[in-house]
Symmetry: D3
Subunit: 238 residues, 6 copies
Amino acid sequence: MRPSSRALDELRPVEILVNYSKHAEGSCLIKMGETHVLCTATLEERVPSFLRNSGLGWVTAEYGMLPRATNTRMNREAKRGQSGRTQEIQRLIGRSLRAGVDRVALGERQITIDCDVIQADGGTRCASITGGWVALKLATQKLIKAGDITSDPLLSNVAAVSCGIYAGQPVLDLDYPEDSDAGVDGNFVMNSDGALIEIQMSAEGSVFSRGQMDELMALADKGIAELVAAQNAAVANA
Amino acid sequence: MRPSSRALDELRPVEILVNYSKHAEGSCLIKMGETHVLCTATLEERVPSFLRNSGLGWVTAEYGMLPRATNTRMNREAKRGQSGRTQEIQRLIGRSLRAGVDRVALGERQITIDCDVIQADGGTRCASITGGWVALKLATQKLIKAGDITSDPLLSNVAAVSCGIYAGQPVLDLDYPEDSDAGVDGNFVMNSDGALIEIQMSAEGSVFSRGQMDELMALADKGIAELVAAQNAAVANA
Amino acid sequence: MRPSSRALDELRPVEILVNYSKHAEGSCLIKMGETHVLCTATLEERVPSFLRNSGLGWVTAEYGMLPRATNTRMNREAKRGQSGRTQEIQRLIGRSLRAGVDRVALGERQITIDCDVIQADGGTRCASITGGWVALKLATQKLIKAGDITSDPLLSNVAAVSCGIYAGQPVLDLDYPEDSDAGVDGNFVMNSDGALIEIQMSAEGSVFSRGQMDELMALADKGIAELVAAQNAAVANA
Amino acid sequence: MRPSSRALDELRPVEILVNYSKHAEGSCLIKMGETHVLCTATLEERVPSFLRNSGLGWVTAEYGMLPRATNTRMNREAKRGQSGRTQEIQRLIGRSLRAGVDRVALGERQITIDCDVIQADGGTRCASITGGWVALKLATQKLIKAGDITSDPLLSNVAAVSCGIYAGQPVLDLDYPEDSDAGVDGNFVMNSDGALIEIQMSAEGSVFSRGQMDELMALADKGIAELVAAQNAAVANA
Amino acid sequence: MRPSSRALDELRPVEILVNYSKHAEGSCLIKMGETHVLCTATLEERVPSFLRNSGLGWVTAEYGMLPRATNTRMNREAKRGQSGRTQEIQRLIGRSLRAGVDRVALGERQITIDCDVIQADGGTRCASITGGWVALKLATQKLIKAGDITSDPLLSNVAAVSCGIYAGQPVLDLDYPEDSDAGVDGNFVMNSDGALIEIQMSAEGSVFSRGQMDELMALADKGIAELVAAQNAAVANA
Amino acid sequence: MRPSSRALDELRPVEILVNYSKHAEGSCLIKMGETHVLCTATLEERVPSFLRNSGLGWVTAEYGMLPRATNTRMNREAKRGQSGRTQEIQRLIGRSLRAGVDRVALGERQITIDCDVIQADGGTRCASITGGWVALKLATQKLIKAGDITSDPLLSNVAAVSCGIYAGQPVLDLDYPEDSDAGVDGNFVMNSDGALIEIQMSAEGSVFSRGQMDELMALADKGIAELVAAQNAAVANA
């Protein structure tokens, strides 16, 4: 029934290529099927001015999409400025990742996660969060190994997956053909303890019920568990 | 226990002053306690280019806050451009209101809902949606009365309320002192049939459980029912 | 003869609602007939860099109009940037108010007057100056009451009124129907001693004589005296 | 008494070099003492969209200052955008020149007057209006000579001069040392019939009386008459 | 002698992975050592307005660099706008590729080459031209195969290589350590017939002689021949 | 054969009017035939932040063109922002002039060269470099005369000239009619010792050979020698 013939509760193939970038303190190329996002972590020994002398660290994110990552070429944001959608997404990524960070343990330093979509096929913001966490993990491991910090600032994994109602059925991890057709869809950000961090459900030209919401949350539980496993395997191989 | 001494499931006093603007096709000043938002509906006999000759109408929204609507003066967005937060909010308002519109019945015309926060005390985006629907309703009633359209393009009321976990307790309709202290909070947009349109739950420096999510949804159900009643009373008095 | 049936030298009904804003150090909603402007004063214990360590205070103003304050919706300036007209108006307001301020007595602090037009029917810049002065007065009274300054930094009232030639006749306080039809019109800013602070007379597609200029100045004298009385009454009631 | 030793009612030496630009339809370099402004008129056979098919022409103006036209280098506006002051000035120039134009006689075409300050020593906006009119005159003469229009669209000369109160005395045509020290100053735009087009009097940190205003207007009358003579001589020599 | 131990006239290893993008009409990832650039060609059946109804096609290019493509993270251009350097580079790429295009044979359609630097180690603009030509070639082959055009619009290969004087010696294809230390360096764009298209030699804090220029041109000849061979091999494999 | 009847290797008449600006530390108006550029040098006792406490000075340049410097009026860059072309040119001017500066001898101060095109007829960037050097020379002479620096920071003259292939012939110093028709043209920046600083050759819709490049360089040698003589004569007369 799904265009990709996947089961209703089946993720796309997940591949996480770690240390993809020569320069970044942590990086990976995450592939969720045909959606490919390059995530890099940049470590800086400074914090935004509102945190100076607070003893607290900061994790922030930026998001972008190459103009021809999509089927139809989009205008380059460097020329027209960041869209509202882009800003909304990068705020979500940063907020989500911070939910898994012990900012005291991180100390007064900043980690910027850049998520750049090389190729898009739906679910780019979820892939950015899941891959961004891996880049963040690798960068913090470097800090620990160098003795710059003594306790791990990452409290748990953070991962994200989309769920939606496609052709009347709740489905997990929508690809672009599903996403562009679903009346209801959204994103679930969770940690590796199964706790919720962020829910964004949205109906465009439709509505949904409490029962459907429960079904979508069950799908999210399953998907997040698999993504956390993929994150851990990738980090172990790094 | 709440700073305002309200019960956990108690809305702030709601007041909706209709036809507040001399010029707009529909308008109200909505007061949720000390949060005051002026909502105006502007009707135009044209649609964005992507809808031309489609027979479909369009409802969109813009949001702003006066510089001194808040306790500390903010920079004027006309000078620095719209922030990511502003763009995110106005996209939410527009998407939410469209979920209650029969765009075929509306016909090829556009209604722009301007939501301008005159005074802020938390919950401005929810007040904008709830008040924005009243402005929209009054504008569409004018169209019907004038014979420009024959069937009501509004399928149901659309209203919104915030819920969050404050001092460990789920509470309804957070004011600013609660909002700035809550680790978990979010917004529920629903229609008058009790169906869900949009959920945005977010934990900043915290997480939440499925059980808490259920409690928050129950609070939202109660709040939305009361807001729908207030909308209907306001429209009846117009 | 006037669309509003007013006498040639008759102001519109003036109403000044003081302390309209919960947050601002001084505020009023001024109504000149159907023109409604919210004026707030924000006090900050810092001055622009060019005044640092000078011992002098600063008063500045910003001006805006809600998109649907007018009969036809205007584009939101937060999206397109401030127009030349807006910048010209806010420079006028700031300059006018500073003409009534003893900046030594104010001390090294800044007061920002925000003038936001909620509803427009002509004469918004004059209403902004007249109402802005009330907000400024209330804020400086608070400084005196708190013992932060010892002598009143306001040397006199500052008020403004428009005059123009409508249908061949000099008239006072033009509303929008008059303003859009007058070939010659302008604004007079004066203090409560009857001295001139600013004159801006402009003929669009027309010219005017010295004799007409004298008649307009006489009208301004009368209007300013009435506005000063309204300011004083409002402040006394605060 | 004046820094330049001029009499109180004495203009700076006026020099108008016509046809200064190889490319423009009309041009001059106007020198008011050490203030030098290049004025060019560009003729286009099109009008702004709000005038299309109206039969009416349009005259508009733009104003700029080279970064080192002043004693201290200013930032280049091409890098930071036009300041509010620049926009205010160019609106004034355009409005002033239009007051002397028969837009029916001009026909549906646009003339853009560019006023670029090569060197500044006070009074640049007045020099721009006076020189801009010469450029406009030369361009319209070309239209007449070419037979494109049959009656002269210029109803009268338009010229401008500044007046102010310097060291307690009303003076004509302030240069920079006077301008930066005058508590009251302004600009008078008049036509060659002695009628008023625009008055902008402004007191920064000061006020002025009706009597002073009358003295300033008498100075303006004298100055404008001399400037009109200089314009006519320059055009006759072209 | 070179940091990379290459011979003076030795290119870095060249790898061109064709059809790297699922969506683009032509694409490759070109690797010049550690410099990796993704080049995509987007075909559109429209031309810029200045070419409408001319029968001529257009080839243009845009260039960007991911924020962490470099050793130190750069600010994202989507947030601050395109730098002068970026604009200069993309104008060079477009101009260079157009020099190899028969725009009559292409017909009234536009091909946009996006060159996005995934990882940078010097020579990104040259890699963009060399890889951009491959993307362009693949897109035009598709047009021919589809029968949309009948004759090949590509007259010859276009490739580019940098040369410079490093440690007193002329060297080919500078990497970042060389580039940041070279007093003289530049880029040579040539076609597969050995003809010159563009030369940009620049000395920062240094100068160079005619003799050195001749040596650099000889290096360029050798490098371009090898790059053309690599382009042809990649296209043949596609 | 040339539109101007000049010999193939003949410069346009060169005129350099020194001390053209009343305010700048050094200035000239350079005329290359009908191309007129005002060059001013502004001296500031500060350097950009990346040079603070380095002991090194800085020379930078900005470039602009008056809207009606050209045959067809261009949009004003103050309204639309600096084009890529403008930024590319001003980077070239700054880089070229710095190649002739001993930045240790200059000491920690900055000289900004503003090049503003009053009238354009081709070759404006070369005229800017040649005239900019004169302004720079005059400003540094002032520093020496004032005893602020002890050794001359200018190591040699820097001048620039364009060469191109027009109607199949290599020609020197292209004017606009030639420039707009030449398939190949470029700019040579050299010093007074005949050494090369910058070469920018570009073929639009054409290519060129090594032999043609040699001929163009010979023309450049001749032109630069004459321009250096003109610079020296102008400086001697200052």
